[in-house]
């Protein structure tokens, strides 16, 4: 083998060594990148999970506000009853004397054994 051929082979061999080294470093860097991404992915998972679940829980609390809305309806029903009671009182006042008289006659009939 001539000296120049031998030098050339040595240069090529060195270049191949350098290339292997570069690839090896790149492989390590890539693996590290993926490892970090997986750690980040777990963090992202928990963050997204909690955020979405939090929204759902807030939604659930809003649904429970229906109870408050129902209370307003309940109060309305009671107010309506009060209006009806006032109307009943007014109606009864106008008929009270006549009713008492009719009842008195009814009791008298019962006392005489006529009822």
């Amino acid at each position: 083998m001539s000296a120049s051929l031998s030098e050339a082979l040595a240069k090529i061999s060195a270049a191949e060594g350098k290339a292997k080294e570069l690839l090896s470093k790149a492989d390590l860097e890539a693996k590290e990148k993926v490892r970090r991404a997986e750690i980040e992915a777990r963090r992202v998972y928990h963050e997204a999970y909690e955020a979405h679940l939090g929204q759902a829980r807030a939604g659930a609390a809003q649904v429970k506000e229906a109870r408050e809305a129902a209370k307003a309806k309940a109060e309305e029903a009671l107010k309506e009853a009060e209006r009806q009671i006032a109307a009943l009182r007014r109606q009864a006042e106008g008929r009270f004397e006549g009713t008492a008289q009719a009842l008195a006659e009814e009791i008298l009939s019962a006392a005489w054994g006529r009822a």
Binding site: A41, V44, L78, A100, L103, E106
Partner: protein, 210 residues
């Protein structure tokens, strides 16, 4: 190709492979983060569904309960008011009745005699005692005549005497036999109580019917 060109080519190829490997790693990183985010949303939705469903159920039950309770209370209040008015009308009726009777003594004496006679007959005659209020006791019922009428109807020897004890009622009589062990309540209060259901129905119709 010269040896320098070969060396350069080897290093250039290696650099290309390095760049490809790093690009793939970056892509894989983005993919895994995106996938995890999507998975998180799916899992959270799955976890949230029963929470929301239960909350809706509870809210509906609470809503129904609140409204039903209020309606029941409202109905009860109306009913309670009606009963109160009917009671007032019955009280007014008995007051009116006694006022009318007291203004017409003969009619009242006739009625008291009738009530005493009916009570005596119901007890089957015998030794009877009449209990009256202070006003009725002063009216002077003919007890002997009453005793004869009871005796005639029952066939049992009968005596009637007025108790020294005065009752506090609106009017009418209490008739007792066997030293108070048997009693017929012919007071107006007693008559009203016996006829309460009918009287309440009449009052309700007169007061509240449309």
């Amino acid at each position: 190709m010269t040896e320098d060109q070969i060396v350069s080519k080897i290093l250039q190829d290696a650099q290309g492979e390095v760049e490809t490997a790093l690009r793939k790693a970056a892509q894989a990183s983005e993919d895994v983060i995106r996938q995890q985010k999507e998975q998180a949303l799916r899992d959270a939705e799955k976890a949230a569904a029963p929470i929301l469903a239960r909350a809706k159920e509870e809210a509906e039950a609470a809503r129904r309960q609140v409204i039903t309770e209020a309606q029941t209370r409202a109905n009860w209040n109306i009913l309670s008011e009606k009963r109160q008015i009917i009671e007032e009308a019955l009280a007014a009726a008995t007051t009116k009745l006694i006022e009318n009777l007291r203004s017409d003594t003969d009619s009242y004496v006739s009625l008291l005699s009738h009530l005493a006679r009916e009570g005596g007959v119901a007890l089957g005659g015998g030794d009877l005692e009449l209990l009256l209020n202070a006003h009725a006791a002063r009216l002077g019922l003919d007890l002997d005549a009453l005793a004869k009428e009871v005796e005639k109807e029952t066939g049992a020897k009968t005596t009637i005497h007025l108790s020294g004890r005065r009752i506090k009622n609106i009017g009418g009589v209490l008739v007792q036999a066997d030293a108070g062990r048997r009693t017929v309540d012919n007071t107006f209060e007693g008559i009203v109580e016996r006829r309460r259901r009918d009287l309440e129905t009449i009052a309700a119709k007169l007061l509240f019917a449309d």
